[in-house]
Symmetry: C2
Subunit: 280 residues, 2 copies
């Protein structure tokens, strides 16, 4: 496929028929980023040799707040352990997430104050800064930036990925399962594997740029009209995958109102306090 054709198609897939950004600077890296789709159906093929150190090097190359490096990653590849991770991430509702078991690895991205805590306490000092919400944000963002670089690296070699936020459903049990130290928690999981030949992974359309991106001042103009426009792209995406018809607004309202949707994540604060995080 010619570069131009691929560019047009990728942008159409990301933004639908309307509201497309007209001019995007293009190169192989940007094409890679815009090609992202979450994969939920993996082949049995093993991961390529040296995948682990490659993804870790990419992750460590992301910025980290003040170079404090307050994140870790645990790659779960052992089948029995992976089945446990899946069970804990499926929650009470028994959500599918079968792809956690079907894929060769799930990477658990950890916000991790434990090292710096220990290095401080061991010299008789008190890491009082860790008692503040800001430290929690710092470590959480560190872990997220690292995970996204690993995602980009994985996709660049043809691997498929999908993020799993449901790893927070049973945050306490998951932390215990993988023996996380105090002052750390799993922010999210990232399933990694080769996409199955019959994977129907598709690029998911997003809101028009003008809804999420602003010049100088935040401008909440005409959200209703933009969302109506987005619903068309959203509908076409779901229809193309044979998914049950549902508007984006319904998804948004369900996620905002349903404690069943939280599926255990209501307990996150209590779990994290038990694990030594402060929220001052």
């Amino acid at each position: 496929m010619s570069e131009d054709l691929n560019k047009v198609q990728l942008i159409a897939a990301r933004y639908g028929e309307k509201d497309r950004p007209e001019n995007i600077i293009w190169n192989a890296q940007i094409e890679g980023l815009l090609s992202h789709r979450s994969v939920r159906n993996f082949s049995q093929q093993a991961l390529p040799e040296h995948w682990f150190e490659t993804l870790v090097a990419a992750a460590q190359s992301a910025s980290t707040s003040s170079n404090l490096q307050q994140w870790s990653m645990v790659a779960v590849t052992d089948p029995a352990l992976k089945a446990q991770v899946k069970k804990l991430s499926a929650g009470d509702k028994g959500l599918a997430n079968g792809y956690i078991e079907g894929a060769p690895a799930i990477l658990l991205w950890v916000a991790d104050l434990s090292r710096n805590h220990d290095m401080t306490v061991s010299d008789g000092l008190t890491p009082g800064v860790h008692d503040y919400l800001d430290s929690f944000v710092m470590a959480t963002v560190d872990a997220a930036l690292a995970s996204q670089n690993a995602t980009v690296a994985a996709e660049s070699i043809g691997l498929g990925t999908v993020y799993i936020g449901a790893t927070r459903n049973k945050a306490k049990e998951l932390a215990e399962l993988i023996q996380l130290p105090a002052h750390s928690y799993v922010v999210c999981g990232l399933v990694v594997g080769w996409p199955a030949a019959d994977s129907d992974a598709a690029i998911r359309p997003r809101l028009p740029q003008s809804v999420v991106a602003h010049h100088n001042l935040y401008s909440a103009c005409d959200l209703d009209a933009h969302v109506r426009s987005y619903e068309e792209a959203f509908h076409a995406f779901r229809e193309g995958l044979g998914m049950k018809d549902k508007t984006w607004k319904q998804v948004v309202q369900g996620a905002a109102t349903s404690l069943a949707y939280m599926d255990g994540r209501q307990n996150l604060r209590a779990t994290l306090e038990e694990r030594g995080f402060g929220f001052k």
Copy 2:
């Protein structure tokens, strides 16, 4: 420079002389990721045409939790407004951050529950899920993933970037300055511009992979020895830039113990509660 030579040099810069991962899968994307360095000295050259929609498209191509798209971005390019952002991010200690003014843009990455909140309330529903810490984490991670994709895209076209966590120092005032709605806050800033010809931006070495990355179970083995080894690479990096000698351990302990280092970020929780976030 040959690909192999560049690879060897980038890995050496990232991990120092010891503790280098021996085998990393290599391609242009991974080379780009491993080339990352924070730039703090920018030329006066304007950003390339269409930089904005390019970075936004990259950011929107990152995963977002349940496709809820709970982030926004405000690109501050107006000189007077940028000077204000700089002032608010320099904090009481008057830290430099001069590069916020010197660069053509700072992108403010916003964790944003406001759209979905409004779309729920306007139908008479109660977005009770937003009162939980998990919603705060979701939106914060969404913003971080988006920002990292924008960083990768910016660097792929030769731009330099540096993250600014100090945008949380005066979180309340910054939110008001850029007219953020309730239920949103600036997670971090990202300065973007062309690196100055005399920029001394350098790849910062990171901890050995075995410290941050684990197989199946978290293993906190021999942190002391690994940190001692890392101190050599850290020392060489600072010396190369003519920075005051300081061990990484001193950096870690300072950041963990000094409220002066927080520089206003102690107030983040109170500010966010005022702005409508819940932490149940």
